[in-house]
Symmetry: C2
Subunit: 304 residues, 2 copies
């Protein structure tokens, strides 16, 4: 049975997302203590990038998937913080003048404008490195096999065959016309892999069965794509103030997106279909999967 | 007994360094297979940065310290390749226009000139990420505790309290006058931590005793500093063609170095003292430590 979410009930999700965001910020704050040595500036910049808020969707996927397997919440929060560090580093580097050259992120000056380019590069490098330090630390899990598997999964998702490869393909796409299959692959790498590994990390922490992992993977595969289509729609339909970053950039850059290739209406339908399909993958988990099901809906309906 | 190295005999070391460099390059080549997808450019840039040669001193420290504890050579080479990826990523990012703005590295155009800035940033990110992927992969060691410890040690050495922190302090030093204690701390972080962790990784792979680890740590502490002083001397006395990168930069930038603070003669003496002291820490290892002892000497006598 597909257990559809009632139309007007995502208040549980909003509460849970907010609580999760607070908890993740608290852990990140602990993990990046302020220093007063000459190199303190890089930690300041790491904190600026990591503690700027945001919905913390990836960490939410870690903690919620961990809940499915009764993982110690503290372990899940540490893994969640690691994933968020990877996400935040990628934003800092993507915003650099040599990359997307963005001035605004979550409504605030981007890291290289707040500090300087060199500090932003280093802060990104240090956040990326710190993510693996946190996962490999014994405090994250008693079982070293779990820690090692977390590192391996996250590194694969973030590296040249995952997020970084996606970013490279995105730069390539500025001078090449992509079709829907290529855009799907690009987005799968650029944003999808990190979304998928977030849920996978909950499963690794909980030593979940292969079946459960496959279902979670199918779920994240669908919400990842839905998330990206929703992002493309926001770029066309949103305004910078609500979205918290520049909009209309893709069209201005002549970049192919799901929306430019499919049109607004078909893109919206596709996102909805993916969202419904995602929810169905979670049937096995019963009520425990409710919030993840609501998330699949929320992702395509969000306005920021 | 201190087992001094005869004055004219470092030919064993030179042979061993060359063999090690070839073996490390081979493993790096295997780990970064050429692709033909749109994102292949980032792998090309990773290969350009990682396969450009160099003495591979850090990987040599991994494989030689691993030999002290009879580690499987293949495991040691994988760990060595991971350390070298971290070293190479740091060179790519340090050479960027926003950082040291260097045009020449190992006699070749720096990565951002050969490719472009965006690709160089991404290639650095991907090399950094790949290092942890390699260490966490089951192929590196059967024991997950070893893999997890390797990741933890390398991440700490490379992060905001290690190499990245050192690079940040180096930027700070451009506008602040450092004394010898501060320069020592800077260099300890910027280059020393990665040198130390290289030998430590051999010990982790070999599940070495605490005593053995402490001795190796003391050895790398000394050669790390000696290495840096020798680098400062080369910056003053070397020419770009032999050294393979721009020289005279520190003086031109008005940067304090060991040489500017101590003078050439005293700096040279200090490096020699450190090198001898380093060799003495290895007495426990007997003949097995010969090449590492020779390395301590080579480091302060090199001309490039």
């Amino acid at each position: 049975m597909s257990q559809p979410v009632p139309d007007n009930d995502i208040s549980d999700l909003k509460t849970a997302l907010a609580e999760n965001a607070d908890a993740v910020s608290e852990v990140l704050d602990e993990m990046l203590p302020v220093m007063d040595t000459p190199e303190a500036r890089v930690v300041e910049a790491m904190r600026y990038a990591a503690l700027a808020g945001g919905k913390r969707v990836r960490p939410f996927l870690v903690t919620q998937s961990a809940r499915l397997f009764d993982v110690d919440p503290r372990a899940a929060l540490r893994a969640a913080a690691a994933v968020e560090m990877i996400h935040c580093y990628s934003l800092v580097h993507d915003d650099l003048p040599a990359m997307d050259d963005d001035d605004l992120r979550r409504g605030q000056p981007t890291c290289h404008l707040k500090f300087d380019e060199a500090t932003a590069i280093l802060a990104g490098d240090a956040l990326l490195t710190k993510a693996f330090e946190i996962l490999a630390a014994p405090e994250t899990h008693d079982d070293a096999r779990v820690r090692s598997d977390l590192v391996l999964a996250l590194a694969k998702a973030a590296g040249e065959h995952g997020m970084v490869g996606g970013q490279m393909m995105d730069l390539w796409a500025e001078e090449n016309d992509l079709d829907v299959a290529q855009i799907t692959r690009l987005q799968r790498m650029k944003t999808g892999e990190l979304i998928s590994v977030s849920a996978e990390m909950g499963a690794i922490l909980g030593k979940a069965s292969e079946d459960a992992r496959h279902l979670l993977h199918a779920y994240t595969h669908d919400i990842g794509l839905a998330f990206q289509i929703a992002d493309d729609l926001l770029d066309v339909e949103g305004d910078a103030e609500t979205v918290g970053k520049a909009t209309g950039k893709d069209a201005a850059a002549g970049k192919a997106t799901f929306v430019s290739l499919l049109g607004v209406e078909k893109a919206r339908q596709q996102a909805s279909l993916l969202s419904e399909q995602a929810a169905r993958h979670l049937e096995l988990f019963g009520e425990k999967g409710d919030l993840l099901r609501q998330l699949a809906r929320f992702i395509v309906e969000r306005r920021a």
